[in-house]
């Protein structure tokens, strides 16, 4: 009921090519996350699917029907905007009912659906308030409610959590994931935050400069990144890259080791260096180490490690957890 297929979709703004040709398959019921640095074209891609931008060439197929030229409302997609885009002079009830009113639905049916959506999203007590009287999280839920009532074949989220504070963001992340389980509707979610991508997605699409760098489940991307960009983007803190002698020894231009894949020792190891900043979080310890060849790496150890600024330390990458990259940055 909610499959979306992009075939060679291209988009130019004037002379600037923003999306140089994308092929993508989104299956029914999937939670797909577009992730990438800002300006990578992920929001544009979402707006192309929504129909808010016209494609320059290519095809967009929704539920087996070619919707490339169809108006946004006809595509049966619902979108949640970054700014929530609530109608400020309407009550929450009217905001949620607006798409139903536009569809010419009977008043009782409208009310039934609004009540249902409000029940799901804990908004029942706020139905008569204006958006201006709500908190950020509540506004977010109203925006989602307005999307739910239409019973769309897919939801589109455009960085919906970026205006919320950190604690609320974690809550809403869980709520949206639960909503996806409950509704089992296709969701396409755009974010620049790789933590959101890793925690929520069934399938992550990593974008850079309009190109799809890699598509896969979160752990697939974590375990076998196709190139240096994906390797560096997925995982927190970022992967460490080492070039020169260490890499040449393994027959690669550069090698990558994730911070959590270093074994630490004060006596011996593959690389040695001096501890710069040591971040003791209790559950984890992050060590910023300046290796003897000048490379800066971050190493993560579970629990508390008694190492401090200026200490000498030796790091050894775990067996089988070293990623090798060639000159072009492709994984070997």
């Amino acid at each position: 009921m909610g499959s979306i297929t992009l075939e060679q979709v291209r988009k130019n703004f004037g002379d600037v090519e923003v999306i140089p040709g994308v092929d993508l398959e989104i299956n029914d019921g999937e939670f797909v996350v577009f992730v990438g640095p800002s300006g990578c074209g992920k929001s544009t891609l979402l707006r192309l699917i929504a129909g808010l931008e016209d494609v320059t060439s290519g095809r967009i197929v929704i539920d087996g029907q070619d919707m490339t030229q169809a108006a946004p409302a006809r595509r049966k997609l619902a979108m949640v905007f970054q700014s929530y885009a609530l109608y400020p002079h309407m009550s929450v009830r009217k905001n949620i009912a607006f798409p139903l009113k536009m569809a010419g639905m009977a008043a009782e049916e409208q009310e039934r659906r609004v009540q249902h959506a409000a029940g799901i999203l804990n908004l029942t007590d706020y139905l008569d308030r204006r958006p201006g009287q709500l908190s950020g999280g509540q506004r977010q839920r109203v925006a989602i409610g307005r999307a739910i009532v239409r019973e769309p074949s897919a939801f589109l989220f455009d960085e919906p959590l970026s205006n919320l504070d950190a604690a609320l963001r974690v809550n809403m992340r869980v709520e949206i994931s639960e909503l996806h389980k409950k509704l089992a509707t296709t969701m396409v979610y755009v974010t620049h935050d790789q933590v959101e991508a890793m925690t929520m997605a069934d399938k992550i699409v990593v974008l850079r400069a309009g190109h799809i760098e890699q598509v896969g489940s979160p752990l697939e991307l974590y375990r076998s990144p196709r190139n240096r960009f994906v390797a560096g983007f997925i995982g927190s803190p970022n992967m460490n890259f080492l070039e020169g002698a260490a890499a040449a020894g393994l027959g690669a231009h550069a090698i990558g080791v994730r911070p959590e894949h270093f074994a630490m020792s004060t006596t011996e190891g593959a690389f040695s260096g001096t501890v710069g900043v040591a971040e003791h979080l209790g559950s984890d310890t992050f060590l910023h180490v300046d290796l003897d060849d000048g490379t800066h790496v971050v190493a993560r150890a579970a629990g508390e490690v008694p190492v401090h600024h200026g200490d000498r330390i030796h790091l050894t990458p775990q067996e089988g957890r070293v990623y090798r990259f060639d000159q072009q940055g492709l994984a070997l």
Partner: protein, 289 residues
């Protein structure tokens, strides 16, 4: 942080200008009130005397007064309808991306910079003149009888001239309001299946309501005292057909030299303006809540 001490000092410092402004207002108002109870005609100097409410009785029972009242309200109402309606349409048009946008916007705003006397003269002689005017030429070109606008439809012609002057103001205010409309809201409405008309009714108009009230308030204040356009074009005539309250007061004072009667008319105009202002402030209070 303003302390109490600083507040007192601040009040002392602004006091002179406040007092000056107060005197500026209270002295003419007081003199008008004083004259309105006097028999005071410039043709019989030295005969001034107190006559109580007689001036008011005469002014209010003058058949010209009620015509002037009706004309004033028609003029204000007509111009408001045309400028707000036309202003919304023009603002919607000018908000569209188009070639030469900057120049077009300046051209649209230009009439506001022309002084009322000049624009009224231009309209009178170059457009509405039944012999040489542009409208007459168009009518003749189509084989129709030219219309003598200022003689046949004097009030309507003045409404037209004044509207032309105030349309840019309304357009400017409404255009800026329109540009502050969140584009994501419009996109959300588009996703929700709203057509152009629904978007206008449910999103654009409510968003503009505040700007519209501001336009109505400011224009009303100025339109209640339209004078130059009438003096230059019709002189209030034919008969009293285009006389508004301001012009009636003028003719009472400076054509009939009856200062007392004119002062009474002036006080009535002040009261009328205040009644209108109270209504408008209520309206604004409601939209600004």
């Amino acid at each position: 942080m303003a302390t109490r001490h600083q507040n007192t000092l601040a009040r002392l410092m602004v006091a002179p200008s406040v007092l000056l402004l107060l005197a500026w207002m209270i002295v003419p108002l007081g003199m008008t009130l004083w004259f309105s109870f006097q028999s005071y005609n410039l043709l019989s100097p030295g005969m001034e005397r107190f006559i109580g409410w007689t001036n008011y009785q005469y002014f209010l029972s003058d058949p010209a007064f009620w015509t002037a009242m009706a004309n004033t309200l028609l003029l204000v109402g007509g111009v408001l309808v045309i400028t707000v309606g036309g202003g919304i349409l023009l603002a919607l048009l000018l908000d569209q991306p188009m070639f030469g946008q900057g120049i077009v916007r300046i051209l649209v705003i230009a009439p506001f910079f022309i002084m009322p006397t000049v624009s009224a003269l231009v309209w009178k002689n170059m457009f509405m003149n039944p012999v040489n005017g542009l409208f007459a030429w168009i009518a003749k070109a189509m084989g129709a009888q030219p219309i003598d606008f200022l003689a046949q439809y004097p009030l309507m012609s003045i409404i037209l001239i004044v509207s032309w002057q105030w349309l840019p103001f309304a357009t400017l205010i409404l255009l800026t309001a329109l540009q502050s409309l969140d584009s994501e809201q419009m996109e959300a409405a588009e996703m929700d299946g709203a057509g152009a008309l629904s978007k206008f009714i449910h999103l654009v108009l409510p968003h503009l309501s505040r700007a519209i009230t501001v336009v109505i308030l400011i224009e009303t204040i100025f339109l209640l005292s339209v004078f130059a356009e009438i003096l230059v074009t019709t002189n209030g005539g034919p008969g009293y057909q285009s006389t508004n309250l301001t012009y009636l007061v003028y003719s009472q004072a400076l054509l009939q030299f009856d200062v007392g009667g004119a002062s009474a008319g002036g006080i009535i105009a002040v009261i009328l303006a205040n009644i209108v202002a109270i209504f408008l402030m209520r309206m604004i209070g409601k939209t600004l809540e």
